[in-house]
């Protein structure tokens, strides 16, 4: 099923995949800490305050201090929890987010291409993102405490609702590209980036992505002034850090998917592919933070209404428009199935 390297022997392909995966994972784990810092700094800047500035110059060593604190903290498992599921829950969200990175292409050639250039990449992404829900459900249920269960229930309802609009928005882009392979989707954007052909789809995807990653204004599952911390109320130390890591990896992953599907992926003038990819992800991450700093939290019934009464009908409309567009202007999207 792998495309680019299929002429090489199996062990060689495996070796390459392992090397690429370890480099990517190392980079991601290293970068996440500083992303947290970046987010705090950006929010501070938008709100006119200095932000973290004690550890190192401009607070640059703050992540190091945070990680050390989380690692050396006492690992406490409350006596009333279901132990196996309590420990498994934070692992699930991190693993599903990490595995999803295997399908994002970072450049045109095999060296920078996706670790696993699957023909069904889009479906794999959807499958993994739908499995991430279990982490939250199980964390909420196994914690066996009021706030955690409420947060878990809210998060489940929210994530399965917004997943529908997310996948339908993605489907319209797939229709234009005529493939489920992310690398080919990028190649299909040679003439126009899909954000130009699919502005509505991009908007729907972005809103759903914020809801999927449970960030403000859709952070009801962990609304601290009503639910303490939602599903991860009972978690501490490294297990809490895993939830944190999972959330940030999810945000970068969704930014990466958006950059790949709507913003032309690794394409761009002068600079090499991976640099463009990182730039696009950085811009999208900034917008995520910007929205977080700007909008107040939605009310729960509003959240459900936005999902079911606005985004999903809009996504269906977008699908119909895309289908008509593909049939009437075959030159605009040469790769679409006619």
């Amino acid at each position: 099923m792998t495309g680019a390297l299929s002429n090489e022997p199996l062990w060689y392909q495996l070796l390459i995949a392992v090397i690429k995966a370890s480099v990517l994972m190392g980079a991601l784990l290293g970068v996440t800490g500083w992303l947290v810092l970046a987010e705090r700094k950006i929010i501070a800047w938008l709100q006119g305050r200095p932000g973290p500035n004690r550890a190192g110059p401009m607070g640059l060593f703050q992540p190091v201090a945070d990680v050390l604190k989380l690692l050396t903290k006492e690992e406490s498992i409350p006596p009333f929890v279901n132990k196996i599921l309590f420990i498994a829950a934070p692992a699930i969200i991190t693993i599903t987010a990490m595995v999803s990175y295997a399908i994002i292409p970072w450049g045109p050639n095999p060296v920078w291409g996706a670790i696993s250039n699957l023909n069904l990449g889009v479906l794999l992404f959807l499958a993994l993102s739908s499995l991430g829900v279990y982490s939250i459900v199980l964390a909420g249920w196994s914690s066996n405490s009021k706030y955690a269960v409420l947060g878990g229930l809210r998060a489940t309802a929210q994530m399965i609702s917004y997943e529908l609009s997310l996948s339908m928005a993605l489907l319209a882009a797939v229709m234009m590209a005529g493939t489920l392979n992310f690398q080919l989707i990028v190649e299909a954007q040679r003439p126009f980036w899909f954000i130009l052909l699919q502005p509505l789809g991009f908007f729907i995807f972005f809103v759903s992505a914020i809801a999927e990653s449970r960030r403000t204004p859709f952070d009801l599952p962990e609304a601290e002034n009503e639910l303490v911390a939602g599903f991860h109320t009972e978690y501490s130390a490294m297990k809490f850090a895993l939830f944190f890591l999972g959330e940030y990896m999810g945000v970068i992953l969704l930014s990466g998917i958006m950059a790949t599907v709507y913003l032309g992926g690794y394409q761009g003038p002068i600079l090499p592919g991976p640099v463009w990819m990182i730039l696009k992800i950085a811009v999208l991450f900034f917008v995520f933070v910007w929205i977080r700093a700007t909008y107040p939290r939605f009310r729960y019934d509003h959240l459900m209404q936005i999902g079911w009464k606005w985004l999903i009908p809009l996504a269906v409309l977008n699908l119909i428009i895309t289908a008509v567009l593909c049939l009437t202007f075959p030159n605009l999207v040469p790769n679409a199935i006619h």
């Binding site: 459900v137 405490s145 199935i337």
Partner: protein, 179 residues
Amino acid sequence: MAQNILFYLAAVMAVATTSMVVITRNAVYAVLYLIMSLFAVALVFLSLNAPFLALVEIIVYAGAIMVLFLFVVMMLNLQGQRGDEATKRPTRRQMIVPGALALLLLILIVVSLSAGTPAATNAALSDPKLLGELLFTKHYLGVKLSGIILLIGTIGGLHIGRGGSIPSTMEKPIDDVTH
């Protein structure tokens, strides 16, 4: 050879997890084992050269339907409905039909395994494009019918679920949540 390994791995996993679904008395554990069983079945599909179906199985079954199950079980758990249940001992009369069925299938297993093993006669194509074409040309009527069924399911679920509000979630103390 790869198919052999994949098949046996998936089959053992499927049978083991499915047995646990039936054995375990805790509704939440049953749902979780069922999810694992669905993964195993997806692996079986993969060994049959049907990766599209394998992923659809995970997305639709494990990703959507099972979340719904877990959601309902959690909600009932909250309201003091115990997740555990006593084993219902089936009466002898109730065991006749499953017993006969099992016997029949046992005979089938013995007969079929003693027969030769014909190899796969076609490399079942895994191209989703082709599957889509087939779906929207030859099986067009089926697609329309399943659309209608989905609509009926939506309306039915809405109508049934609408009647009578669920009693307040937090009436019972949380200690009643069972494992």
